[in-house]
C-alpha cells in the first residue's frame, strides 16, 4: 500500500459549501452520466465524499488535529478517474437545495488533483499537445483560419482590424470538421447585417476554459491575458461567440482571473441575432417545418440564455420543446473532457438525449453549442436515425431573407 501526501487548498467559503452537503440524494436522479452508466462511482455524492476525505485530511477537521495525514495512492487514482467521468454540466447544482454548488467544487477538485500530479491516463497526451500547440486539439495557430480558407472567405471577411464587434471563433468551432460550417454561417450573418466586425485571426488563442477544466489556473490566466490584450488593441466594444464555453469563460471567468473589469461586453451569438431581429436589421423566412431545441448546459443553465434562441427559432418554424429544457436541461455528454477520457459513456449520454428528441417527432435537432452538436450527431449516428443535428446559426444563415 503506497501512501501519498496531498496538498489540497480550498477557500473557507468553498470548504463550508462542501461540508453543507447532507447527502440527501436530490442530485442523484438528474446526473446524466449516472443515468447512462448506472454506476454509483459517478454520483455527485460519491465525488463529494472523496473530495471531503482529501480536503479534511489536508486543511480541515482531521489535519487540524493530526497535521498532514497521508492518503492511499489507490484512492487518489480511483478518485481522479471518477472525477473526469463527469461532464461538468451542473445538473447537480441545479438540483441542490443546500447551495453546495457541486459543479464549482468539481473544478476545484480537478485543480487539486492537477497540482498534486494526478492526471488520468487519457489526458496526458492531450495536455502535452495542448501545452505545445496552444489548443486542446493540437492544431496550432496556423490552422485557426482554415475554416475560412475552405469556404473561400479569405478577403471577404475582416481579420484583425479595428472594429466595434469581435467574433471570437473558439477552438471547437474552428478545428472540428462538423462545426466549421457554424463559423462560416456566423460570418455570413455578420456580413448580411452590415455589422462592423472582425476576427482575431491567428492572434486568437484558446479561451482557457479547458485549462480550468484540467485545473491549470496559471495557463488559463495566460490565455485570458493574451486574448484580452488582442481584443482591447482592436478597440472593440463587444465580443460575440458561437461557443457557450468561450462565452462563459470570457464573461465570467476572465474578470476573476485578471482581477479587473473588461473594457468590452461579451455576448452569445443567439443574443446578438435576436437583437438584430428585434431591431429589424435582419429578417428571416419560415424555412423549416418542425424543429426541436436542445439547451446547452453552459448557455442555458449556467449563463441563463434561454429565451433568445427560442425567439429566433419561432421566426423560423414550429418550435417543439423537450421535457428537460431551460435550467433543467439534460447534458449531451460532450462537456468536461468526458469524450477524451471515456468516449463510450459520452456517446451513451448523447443517445439518451437524442432519443428524447426523437420522441417529439421533429426532423431537426438544433442546439447552439459546437460541442453539443458534435456529440449529439455522434449519438444520432450510433442510434442510426436520420434526425438532422444542426447549430442554430446555420439555420439562421440558410434562411436570411434578402
Amino acid at each position: 500500500m503506497r501512501l501519498v501526501y496531498v496538498k489540497a487548498e480550498l477557500e473557507p467559503e468553498e470548504l463550508e459549501r462542501l461540508r453543507l452537503c447532507t447527502a440527501c440524494g436530490e442530485c442523484i436522479v438528474e446526473c446524466p452520466v449516472f443515468k447512462a452508466t448506472g454506476n454509483s462511482k459517478h454520483l455527485p455524492v460519491n465525488k463529494g465524499r472523496a473530495l471531503r476525505r482529501i480536503v479534511e485530511r489536508s486543511q480541515g477537521i482531521v489535519s487540524s488535529l493530526q497535521g498532514q495525514v497521508p492518503l492511499r495512492e489507490y484512492f487518489m487514482r480511483s478518485s481522479v478517474s471518477k472525477l473526469y467521468e463527469c461532464t461538468l454540466c451542473g445538473a447537480c447544482t441545479e438540483q441542490c437545495k443546500f447551495d453546495v454548488k457541486p459543479d464549482d467544487l468539481w473544478y476545484q477538485f480537478r485543480r487539486i488533483m492537477y497540482e498534486n500530479g494526478f492526471i488520468p491516463e487519457g489526458m496526458k497526451v492531450l495536455i502535452t499537445a495542448f501545452k505545445e500547440k496552444g489548443d486542446p486539439y493540437g492544431m496550432g495557430r496556423k490552422m485557426r483560419l482554415y475554416w475560412a480558407k475552405r469556404a473561400k472567405l479569405i478577403g471577404k471577411i475582416p481579420i484583425n482590424r479595428k472594429a466595434k464587434t469581435v467574433y471570437f471563433v473558439g477552438c471547437t468551432t474552428a478545428f472540428t470538421r462538423i462545426n466549421r460550417v457554424s463559423a462560416v454561417s456566423m460570418a455570413q450573418i455578420l456580413n448580411a447585417v452590415g455589422e462592423e466586425w472582425t476576427l482575431l485571426g491567428d492572434e486568437e488563442v484558446c479561451c482557457g476554459a479547458p485549462w480550468l477544466m484540467i485545473g491549470d489556473v496559471n495557463s488559463a490566466k495566460e490565455s485570458a491575458k493574451r486574448n484580452v490584450e488582442a481584443i482591447e488593441r482592436l478597440g472593440a466594444e463587444r465580443v460575440v461567440t458561437t461557443c457557450p464555453t468561450c462565452f462563459k469563460q470570457l464573461k465570467v471567468a476572465y474578470p476573476k482571473l485578471l482581477e479587473r473589469e473588461l473594457g468590452f461586453e461579451v455576448i452569445h451569438a443567439t443574443q446578438l441575432i435576436s437583437s438584430y431581429l428585434m431591431d429589424g436589421m435582419l429578417s428571416l423566412r419560415e424555412g423549416i417545418r418542425e424543429i426541436v431545441y436542445h439547451d446547452p448546459c453552459e448557455l442555458a443553465r449556467q449563463m441563463g440564455v434561454i429565451e433568445e434562441p427560442r425567439f429566433i427559432l419561432t421566426k423560423l418554424g414550429v418550435l417543439k420543446e423537450l421535457e428537460k429544457r431551460g435550467l433543467e436541461t439534460q447534458c449531451c455528454g460532450g462537456g468536461g473532457f468526458l469524450r477524451a477520457i471515456n468516449e463510450e459513456i459520452s456517446v451513451k449520454v448523447a443517445q439518451l438525449r437524442v432519443n428524447q428528441a426523437l420522441e417529439t417527432g421533429a426532423g431537426i435537432l438544433a442546439t447552439s453549442c459546437p460541442s453539443c452538436k458534435m456529440n449529439l450527431s455522434e449519438g444520432a449516428k450510433v442510434l442510426n436515425t436520420n434526425i438532422d443535428v444542426v447549430d442554430l446559426v446555420e439555420v439562421v444563415a440558410r434562411n436570411i431573407e434578402v
Binding site: 463550508e16 461540508r19 453543507l20 452537503c21 447532507t22 447527502a23 440527501c24 440524494g25 436530490e26 442523484i28 436522479v29 449516472f34 448506472g38 454506476n39 454509483s40 462511482k41 454520483l43 455524492v45 460519491n46 465524499r49 476525505r53 479534511e56 480541515g60 477537521i61 482531521v62 487540524s64 488535529l65 493530526q66 495525514v69 437545495k97 443546500f98 447551495d99
Partner: protein, 367 residues
C-alpha cells in the same frame, strides 16, 4: 444515577457553558459539533477556540449527511493521540461510535462522547423547507420535545427506543426539565473526572424515564408487523426494491458500513452484454440494474447485527424507498438472535466478529 444539575439555564446555554469552561481549563483540545452559517444551515465543524462556541448548535434539529460517528472515525483512525476531543452526538450516533470502535474504525481513547438527549430529528428536506419558510427548525424541535409531539420527525425516530444512549461518557438530559436547566449525567469514569475537574460536585440524582417509551413500544410493534408483511418472501422483496437505482447513497451515509471500499462499487460489476444474454434464458427475467438486491442483502449481512436503526439510509434515498423498514426489521430479528444490543458496551464483541461452536443449532444442525 450520578450527575450534575445545572438549574435555570436554557439547556443550550448550559451545554455551551460547560464546554467553554472545559476549554478554558485546557481539558478539551477541540469540540466536534454543528456550526450554523449565515443562512441558517448547519454543518459539522471542529471548534478549537472558545470564541467560536457562540456559533455552536448544541441540539441539532437534523443529522446532516454523514453522521458524527463517521466523522469521529475520520479523526481517530490514524492513531491520533493528543488532547481530548469532545463530540456532541445523538444517542444513535453514540451507539454507532461504539460499534465502529469494535471494528477498529474509531479509537475511543481520545474521544469524549457527549450524548444529547433526543426524541427525534427532522428529515433534511423538511429542514430546508422550514428554513426557506422562515421558521426556526431548532426552536420548533425543542417545542416538540417539551410537548412530546413527534409527528414531524423521521420515521425511524418515531419508533426509536433510545432517547438516551446506553453507554456514553456524558449524557446531557434536558427534556423532562422543560427548558429550565440541564442534567449532565456522568455515565463513565472519563465523564466523571471531567466534571470533577471542572469544579462541579457530582451527586446522586433521581433517574427519570421519559413517558414516550411506552407509546413507542406499541408503535414499534405495529411498524415491525407492517415490515414483516411488506418483506414476506422473495417476490415481496423484489417488489420492495424495484425502484432502487443502485446509487449506493444509503451506503455512503450509513454510519455502520465499515468496509473501506465497497465490493459492489468494484469494476467486477460492470458486465459485458454477452453475460446478460447468457443469463436471460436461465433466469427468465431479472431486475435491472443488476445486483441491486444482492447489494442490499450483502450490506445487511455486514451491518444488520450492528445496525443502530438511525434511519439515515432512508433519509438519503433519492427514490424514497422505505429502507428503514428493511433494516430495522433485520436489525431487530438478528440482534435478538444473538441477544446483542449495539452500543450497549464497548467491551462486548459484535456477533459478526465472533464464532462459537455451539450456536444457532437450529440453523446449522449442531455441526
Amino acid at each position: 444515577m450520578k450527575g450534575v444539575f445545572i438549574p435555570e439555564r436554557d439547556p443550550r446555554d448550559a451545554i455551551r457553558f460547560v464546554l467553554r469552561q472545559a476549554m478554558e481549563k485546557g481539558l478539551l483540545g477541540g469540540i466536534l459539533g454543528y456550526r450554523r452559517n449565515n443562512s441558517g444551515l448547519i454543518y459539522p465543524y471542529l471548534f478549537t477556540s472558545k470564541e467560536e462556541l457562540s456559533q455552536l448548535v448544541p441540539i441539532s434539529p437534523v443529522i446532516s449527511g454523514y453522521s458524527m460517528a463517521t466523522l469521529s472515525s475520520w479523526i481517530t483512525t490514524n492513531g491520533y493521540s493528543g488532547e481530548k476531543i469532545a463530540v456532541l452526538l445523538k444517542p444513535c450516533e453514540t451507539r454507532a461510535v461504539i460499534e465502529l470502535s469494535k471494528f477498529d474504525q474509531v479509537s475511543l481513547e481520545n474521544l469524549l462522547l457527549m450524548t444529547v438527549e433526543c426524541l427525534g430529528t427532522y428529515h433534511v428536506l423538511d429542514f430546508i423547507d422550514m428554513i426557506e419558510g422562515g421558521e426556526s427548525p431548532e426552536e420548533s424541535l425543542l417545542k416538540s420535545y417539551y410537548s412530546r409531539e413527534d409527528d414531524a420527525f423521521r420515521e425511524a425516530c418515531k419508533i426509536c427506543m433510545y432517547p438516551k444512549a446506553p453507554y456514553s461518557d456524558l449524557n446531557l438530559c434536558f427534556i423532562s426539565l422543560g427548558g429550565k436547566g440541564l442534567v449532565v449525567e456522568t455515565s463513565s469514569e472519563k465523564g466523571y473526572h471531567l466534571m470533577e475537574k471542572l469544579g462541579f460536585s457530582v451527586q446522586e440524582l433521581e433517574d427519570e424515564a421519559l413517558e414516550v417509551i411506552d407509546i413507542r413500544k406499541e408503535r414499534r410493534k405495529e411498524f415491525l408487523e407492517k415490515s414483516r408483511q411488506d418483506l414476506a418472501g422473495p417476490e415481496k422483496i423484489n417488489e420492495f426494491f424495484q425502484d432502487c437505482i443502485n446509487c449506493h447513497n444509503c451506503m455512503e451515509v450509513c454510519p455502520i458500513c465499515f468496509c473501506e471500499e465497497c465490493f459492489f462499487d468494484a469494476d467486477r460489476y460492470e458486465y459485458v452484454t454477452r453475460r446478460f444474454l447468457n443469463w436471460s434464458p436461465k433466469e427468465g427475467t431479472f431486475p435491472l440494474p443488476e445486483a441491486k438486491i444482492q447489494f442490499h442483502l450483502g450490506r445487511a449481512l455486514h451491518m444488520s447485527t450492528s445496525c443502530i436503526t438511525c434511519g439515515l439510509c432512508q433519509q438519503a434515498c433519492p427514490k424514497q424507498i422505505k429502507l428503514s423498514e428493511f433494516f430495522i426489521l433485520l436489525a431487530e430479528e438478528n440482534q435478538a438472535l444473538f441477544d446483542y444490543v449495539p452500543g450497549r458496551d464497548p467491551e462486548e464483541k459484535p456477533p459478526i466478529r465472533e464464532f462459537y461452536e455451539e450456536e444457532l443449532e437450529e440453523y446449522t444442525g449442531g455441526t
